[in-house]
């Protein structure tokens, strides 16, 4: 089936066309597309690094942003020119897609080259560290309990570290780099199977980077970052299994699906849902199912069994997220709930050009998806996966709309990876057909593609966190750490890791990756009361006494509640969450019987409570 030419739609036809095309491609002279894309992309990476350096020393942030966009353009534009062009061979397109995956992930690597920096990474890194320390799985993680029940990602990272001798952080970076390349190359192969055209496949894989989560969120060392690429490959293996009468291909799909199930809860259920949707769509169209029914049954049973037998408690975690989303939307629609202003991060305004870029990206994605859906219907594209992709693409508007509801923002954000499977495939078909009409069109397609992808990075990540910050600087030959890092280091040096500590989002995360097992952060009940309340409520006092809390770390800055930015030095020229909590939030501990103020760095004070005094312990690890 070739969607852009309306050719024969049976599978044999598809394979024949693809083979002929490949044969034709091999006869074409090899152009130096790959090294050109690599060379300019590498220069782009260096530009971005210069921009990040400027941002870390709080230099000219406008110039730093300019360097970021210039570097991104250097990565995207040559790749898009090559992929829009008719001349590269299939192999060259594959290399370009793989290189681009590596280049785009490199941005995250240089964002935080010294250790984990993104909010969710701490949980999973701590899980992997625990596996290394204790040599068994399912260790306790009080900050994100569901994460330790899905050990796929940390188990692999820990195995890599143990067998190769690399540090855990290096192993985690390599693992996510592999996952990113797998994702884009897997999408290439999946789209190629559907469209029978490597040009559409290459464009589709790259357009997937226009998913708002792609740049930063999905580059985290987090379970979804690995599970989603495996989902794509399990889907591809399932499609192949349906074409192949021998049972082995189903086995391969089942192995990959099993890994998805033990790696991430939602992705496991999403895979089961996609497989069933494909079967239902095929049945309603009276055609043979494109995936084996046995595989759909297996994935469904495995995902359910895992959550019921191993990952108990995950259902309440997921239920909470969906319940918040539902209530937020229903309250807002009923005119008695709040809505969220787009492009606002804790009072930090997104620059106007970023807003324009993001809005253009969203509009282009929605508009091109609509065109693709109409086009597919006109062409009579009846492959169940194409129909499913069209349904997903149609839901793009919904995921963007959910972002204006405070409690539904997370759901909309998480769903965007799935709906962009449809957006990427549909958009690639539209662009490939349209850009074939001349050089001007091709140029417009390249610019539009770059805007869509770059703009997505603004939608999916807070503006204030687009550029990195320093958590340590060199002054007069010595290393000076941020207040958060300094307080955490003091705790690591003086307090046993079995201590119960109440801390803000940032100190709590740093303690977690330094081996502290019992940490309560502000976002969890009754952490907010304990850290920011001006008096002790009955609940918080009960918690302090009953749970034998040993230390409370009180940061008076409001930015301490920001889990993406709070651990770094603040920007001198205005920042997110300016200001401080009421002085009584801290002073209430001065009046608490038995509390001892053992550490003070100005903004952060550590109290020993319940008669605890610090014990000299050890030197903390390399993460501080």
């Amino acid at each position: 089936m070739s969607l852009d030419s309306g050719e024969a739609t049976n599978r044999e036809g598809l394979l024949t066309i693809a083979l002929r095309r490949r044969s034709r491609e091999r006869r074409q002279p090899a152009l130096a597309w790959v090294p050109v894309v690599a060379a300019i992309g590498a220069l782009g990476l260096l530009l971005i690094e210069r921009g990040f350096d400027l941002a870390r020393v709080n230099g000219d942030l406008a110039q730093a942003r300019l360097l970021l966009w210039a570097g991104l353009a250097a990565m995207l534009i040559p790749a898009l020119i090559a992929l829009v062009s008719q001349s590269p061979t299939r192999g060259q397109r594959l290399w370009i897609v793989g290189l681009l995956a590596l280049l785009l992930y490199s941005i995250k690597i240089i964002y935080g080259p010294n250790g984990v920096v993104f909010p969710d990474e701490y949980f999973h890194f701590a899980n992997a560290q625990q596996i290394l320390d204790h040599q068994h799985l399912y260790t306790k993680n009080e900050l994100l309990p569901a994460s330790s029940s899905y050990p796929g990602l940390p188990a692999i990272a820990a195995a890599m570290s143990q067998i190769s001798g690399l540090k855990l952080f290096a192993s985690s970076v390599i693992l996510i780099a592999v996952a990113r390349v797998l994702l884009l190359v897997g999408l290439f192969l999946l789209f190629e199977r559907l469209a029978g055209d490597s040009r559409i496949a290459g464009l589709g894989a790259v357009f997937f980077a226009a998913s708002p989560n792609f740049f930063y969120w999905s580059a985290q060392f987090a379970y979804e970052s690995l599970a989603f690429p495996l989902l794509v490959l399990a889907l591809l293996a399932a499609l192949r299994a349906a074409d192949d009468e021998r049972v082995g291909s189903t086995h391969l799909a089942a192995i990959l699906a099993s890994c998805v199930v033990v790696t991430h809860h939602l992705t496991g259920f999403a895979l089961a849902a996609i497989l069933w949707a494909l079967i239902v769509v095929a049945r309603t169209r009276r055609s043979s199912a494109p995936v084996p029914v046995s595989l759909a049954i297996y994935v469904s049973v495995a995902a359910l069994a895992w959550i019921l037998l191993v990952a108990t408690g995950t259902e309440s975690y997921l239920g909470g997220i969906f319940s918040r989303a539902y209530h937020s939307v229903s309250d807002a629609l009923g005119n008695h709930g709040a809505t969220r202003t787009p492009f606002q991060t804790s009072g930090f305004p997104t620059p106007l050009d970023d807003k324009v870029l993001a809005a253009s990206s969203a509009l282009l994605a929605v508009a091109l998806s609509a065109v693709a859906i109409v086009r597919h219907r006109r062409q009579g594209a009846d492959h169940a996966l194409v129909v499913l992709f069209d349904v997903l693409a149609a839901l793009t508007v919904v995921t963007f709309a959910l972002r204006v509801f405070p409690g539904a923002w997370e759901t909309g954000n998480r769903a965007s990876s799935y709906v962009f499977l449809g957006v990427a495939f549909g958009t690639a078909g539209v662009v490939a057909a349209w850009a074939s009409g001349g050089r001007v069109r091709a140029l417009l397609a390249v610019v539009g593609g770059a805007v869509t992808i770059a703009g997505a990075s603004v939608i999916g990540w807070p503006a204030a966190a687009q550029l990195p910050r320093a958590d340590a600087v060199r002054v007069d030959g010595a290393v000076v750490r941020s207040e958060t890092a300094a307080a955490t280091r003091w705790l690591c040096e003086h307090v046993t890791p079995s201590s119960h500590v109440v801390a803000d989002e940032n100190v709590g995360r740093l303690l977690l990756i330094n081996g502290f097992d019992h940490v309560l952060v502000g976002v969890l009940w009754p952490g907010s009361d304990l850290l920011h309340g001006t008096t002790f409520s009955t609940d918080s006092m009960n918690y302090l006494r009953r749970d034998r809390t040993n230390y409370v770390v009180v940061d008076q800055r409001r930015i301490s509640s920001d889990n993406a930015l709070g651990r770094f030095f603040p920007r001198p020229s205005g920042d997110v969450n300016p200001g401080t909590y009421p002085p009584l939030a801290r002073a209430k501990y001065d009046a608490l019987a038995g509390a001892q103020k053992v550490y003070d760095n100005g903004n952060i004070v550590i109290y020993g409570v319940n008669g605890t005094t610090p014990l000299l312990r050890r030197h903390c690890g390399g993460s501080l």
């Binding site: 188990a155 143990q162 000076v480 005094t613």
Partner: protein, 251 residues
């Protein structure tokens, strides 16, 4: 390379890894053997055992191989953990080797009637291969330079400095006071210790950025000991910490 030879090479890598894990701690060797044996070889064997020969091109085989390798390691870790085997390097490498050898056996048996065929081919000329290797080299070199630059702590005087003060009990009725300067310039400090009924200037000193001062003071057992820190030249800097005198008496 024929498919059969490729299978044997992959199996040799996973078996060799078991030896390397036991024999050496050299990271270079362990990375060179360990990463392929975790990220490529077992999946390659599983993929070829599962899918018919000639059905896949090189890109598909390699992509599935990497993904299946990750699955082998993740599922193996879960299995080993379930039967109570600690997840050490040796156990994991033996698991990977066992799966690899089993997949090799299945592949050899399963496809024994298929005509001998080439393994997945990289449809690329020598020049194309060179260009691809050069491309990877360019990207990794740029990444290495970027990481190296980014890894250095930046020089900066634009951050707001601060000073840490802490107190912990020391032995024999004493407290240990630590002052650490995270200021961006040299500072002079004075420490004053108060314990009812009296108070006294305990120390004054200068610290350069990043340096630390430690003092040890004998205190009485009764009453709260408060340590106050101020900067000498009138800058706005006040820190105080406190500790029960009785807690300072440690064995």
């Amino acid at each position: 390379m024929t498919r059969t030879r490729l299978l044997w090479v992959a199996a040799a890598v996973v078996v060799l890894n078991c030896v390397v894990v036991r024999a050496t701690d050299l990271t270079v060797v362990r990375v060179a053997v360990g990463l392929p044996s975790l990220l490529l070889a077992p999946g390659l064997l599983v993929t070829i055992a599962c899918t018919p020969p000639r059905a896949s091109d090189w890109a598909t085989v390699i992509t599935f191989s990497v993904a299946a390798s990750l699955a082998v390691v993740a599922l193996g870790s879960i299995l080993l953990d379930a039967v109570g085997i600690p997840l050490g390097a040796e156990a994991l490498s033996v698991w990977v080797a066992a799966v690899g050898v089993e997949a090799l056996g299945i592949a050899l048996l399963r496809w024994r009637d298929e005509p001998a065929c080439e393994g997945p081919r990289i449809a690329m000329s020598g020049g194309g291969m060179l260009a691809s290797v050069a491309s990877i080299a360019m990207v990794t070199t740029a990444l290495a330079f970027s990481v190296s630059w980014a890894h250095d702590r930046p020089e900066s005087n634009r951050v707001a400095g601060f000073t840490e003060l802490s107190v912990v009990p020391a032995q024999r009725g004493a407290v240990a006071v630590t002052v650490r300067s995270n200021e961006t310039r040299p500072m002079e400090y004075a420490v004053r210790i108060t314990q009812p009924p009296g108070s006294a200037d305990a120390a004054s000193f200068a610290l350069r950025p990043g340096r630390e001062w430690r003092g040890r003071f004998t205190v009485g057992q009764a009453g709260k000991v408060t340590v106050m820190l101020r900067s000498v030249h009138g800058e706005v800097l006040r820190r105080s910490v406190s500790i029960d005198g009785s807690r300072a008496v440690q064995p």
